[in-house]
């Protein structure tokens, strides 16, 4: 197992980002946070159908990974996947419109919060079935390899997905075909309402990538810098035709599995402890310590984002409903 499994440590001495990169990360993480907070507000007002699964607390994973991607790369993600969509550049207005089931939504209001897809950004789709997007991403990596244009695929999934058959089948297939794909496991410690430690005996889920002879890395998922650097190496490997990489980003879901979840499976103290380690707060400290961005600039960006998100949500609430003819379009 040893040679296949690594624990990524960010080298604080050699690490350096310029102001532009720091702003990009700060901006993306804050847009995701603001978007998710606003979504909860809209959900509470009864403006959305179904369930809402918040991404709050995991922003560093989507941001750190997607900062390495191009829009002709392919992405699949989960029902918690607005974070990744925003990180790759999705328009908050069109996302809100989709969440509210409106005509202007990415999926014309026919997919909803769990099924965000955006073809022009390479987002093949969020998925309502745990683990199901993983083999689909493997298939897009097959296309990428066949086309030889340097594209890669990235698939995001949770800790719970690593117990699904589709996960294991997909990893094995990608390994033997040496496909250009990065598997990103966001281990937020809870598989829906059950602690992952009760669902598997592997403490590090990256062991499961290593088991298939895929180079596998455990990384601090609440440190956007570490996620970025670890992914950069994985993306390079994929682009060079060296095959798949598995990244386990250890993070924490600050909200429940879905809105309204009673969260009886964890203590308030545990959540409070993780709140101290949450990714936006941590990156803010880094920016200040390293004098990358000062407090005024950080706040300025943040305030502007919250305003923009408010506007986008307001516009989406005023957007048109899809016509009834949409029931019968796009079936095939």
């Amino acid at each position: 197992m040893g040679e296949w499994l690594q624990f990524f440590e960010l080298n604080e001495q050699s690490w350096s980002w310029d102001q532009q990169k720091a702003e990009e990360a700060w901006r993306k993480m804050n847009v995701i946070r603001a978007f998710e907070e606003k979504s909860i507000e809209l959900y509470k007002q009864g403006l959305m159908g179904g369930s809402l699964h918040s991404y709050i607390g995991q922003e560093a994973v989507a941001t750190g990974v997607c900062m390495n991607l191009n829009t002709d790369d392919y992405i699949t993600m989960t029902y918690r996947g607005r974070g990744q969509a925003i990180a790759i550049g999705a328009d908050p207005y069109k996302l809100f419109a989709e969440m509210l089931g409106r005509k202007d939504g990415y999926c014309k209001g026919k997919g909803g919060p769990m099924h965000i897809a955006c073809r022009e950004l390479g987002i093949l789709g969020a998925n309502g079935i745990v683990g199901a997007g993983i083999p689909i991403a493997v298939g897009s990596a097959l296309t990428a390899k066949y086309r030889k244009k340097g594209q890669i695929a990235v698939t995001f999934f949770g800790d719970g997905a690593t117990n699904q058959g589709a996960f294991h089948e997909a990893l094995n297939l990608a390994a033997i075909l040496k496909l250009p794909i990065v598997f990103v496991c966001e281990n937020n410690l809870y598989s829906e309402m059950t602690p992952i430690k009760y669902s598997t005996l592997n403490e590090d889920l990256a062991e499961r990538g290593a088991a298939y002879r895929i180079p596998s890395i455990v990384v601090d998922g609440n440190d956007v810098r570490a996620v970025f650097e670890a992914t950069k190496a994985a993306v390079n490997r994929a682009r060079l035709g060296e095959g798949p990489t598995f990244i386990e980003a250890k993070t924490y879901r600050l909200a429940g599995h879905m809105f309204g979840d009673a969260e009886t499976y964890r203590s308030k103290e545990e959540v409070a402890e993780w709140r101290q380690k949450e990714p936006i707060k941590r990156f803010q400290q880094v920016c200040l310590q390293e004098q990358l961005l000062d407090e005024q600039r950080l706040n300025e960006i943040q305030n502007q984002i919250y305003k923009e998100i408010d506007t986008a949500a307001q516009q989406a609430m005023e957007a048109e409903q899809p016509g009834m003819e949409e029931i019968f379009t796009d079936v095939y």
Partner: protein, 330 residues
């Protein structure tokens, strides 16, 4: 002038794959033992040598994994044809087929198309017992978003598969294991058969018999026997369940005023019930007798060949059902 040649059902499918792979470099094959082994029923024989490992991909035994990969490849511009060795094995990959492939276009608001063909084979007749003999077509036909094709002849198999690969949406193409060695004439030139067009395999005026896949041949044999007593049965091969060519069935019923539906799938909740319901809704006044169905007994398929034969519909059952519909003694 068109020329003809004689091929088996398996060779006809092989030709369809070869022609489509020649005409479109995005057509690739995935499946178990399809490469150097050429597939358990030898349908993909010779294709690895001709097109190489990039396009003819032997997969691990992991149907959910490689159907999923087929979906992802299809969504990103390829036209994968995935072989599932036995239709019974699709059941371990139903999430990928029915939750993923069948819903991607709709859920994405039409942003994503899934031009994927899942080729497989079903049916009984060779003592493969309950997990290798099923007729599961109704399951797929019941879930919107996937087209369902079941060819009965070499001619249909080739023309329908070529169209399926170009259909631009998920298609499940269910071959019949007992038909692979059946020989028939096909044109030497390229041809296509559109999905959703049923075919009158035998014209008649006294009763309409609607069927699909191997049972079409049983219906034709039954029609021959009935002819001896002066009964002229019209045999319609639906060829595809989705889309369903109900119009042709209706037209035939307007002529014969009697309808019998024959399928190898278990009778209860089978597609025959759907056709019967639709005909009574849309052509009730045309009927001179109840719509009858012949299907397999509602049991898992037994291994013993005598028991298997008794479980599956036979020519005798079809003849009896026709006589029943014509109010003749059985």
């Amino acid at each position: 002038m068109s020329t003809k040649k004689i091929v088996t059902y398996a060779e006809a499918i092989n030709e369809a794959l070869r022609e489509e792979m020649h005409s479109d470099p995005d057509v690739i094959l995935l499946g178990e033992d399809i490469g150097s082994y050429g597939g358990v029923f030898k349908v993909t024989k010779g294709l690895l040598d001709e097109f190489g490992r990039d396009r003819v991909i032997d997969t691990p035994i992991s149907e959910a994994g490689f159907i999923g990969a087929g979906i992802g490849a299809a969504m990103t511009g390829m036209k994968p044809v995935v072989e599932i060795m036995w239709v019974d094995f699709t059941l371990v990959a139903m999430d990928q087929i029915l939750n993923q492939a069948a819903k991607m276009s709709y859920m994405s608001g039409g942003q994503t198309k899934v031009p994927l063909v899942i080729r497989t084979q079903g049916g009984g007749g060779r003592g493969n017992a309950a997990q290798h003999s099923q007729s599961l077509e109704t399951i797929f036909a019941h879930v919107p978003g996937i087209k369902v094709v079941l060819p009965s002849t070499p001619y249909d198999a080739k023309g329908l598969l070529k169209s399926s690969i170009r259909e631009g949406c998920p298609v499940i193409f269910i071959e019949h294991k007992m038909l692979y060695n059946q020989k028939a004439e096909i044109p030497s030139e390229e041809y296509f058969i559109p999905l959703g067009k049923a075919d009158i395999k035998r014209a008649g005026k006294d009763i309409t018999i609607v069927s699909i896949s191997r049972m079409v041949h049983f219906c034709l044999d039954a029609a021959k026997e009935l002819q001896k007593e002066g009964i002229e049965a019209e045999v319609i091969d639906l060829r595809t369940l989705v889309p369903l060519d109900l119009e042709l069935v209706k037209k035939s019923v307007q002529k014969t005023h009697r309808l019998l539906i024959v399928h190898e799938a278990t009778k209860s909740y089978g597609w025959g019930a759907e056709v019967a319901a639709r005909i009574q809704e849309e052509a009730f006044d045309e009927l001179d007798a109840p719509v009858y169905r012949v299907g397999a007994e509602d049991v898992p398929i037994p291994y013993n060949l005598n028991l298997e034969k008794e479980t599956l519909p036979q020519v005798r059952d079809i003849v009896d059902a026709v006589r029943n519909s014509l109010y003749l003694s059985i």
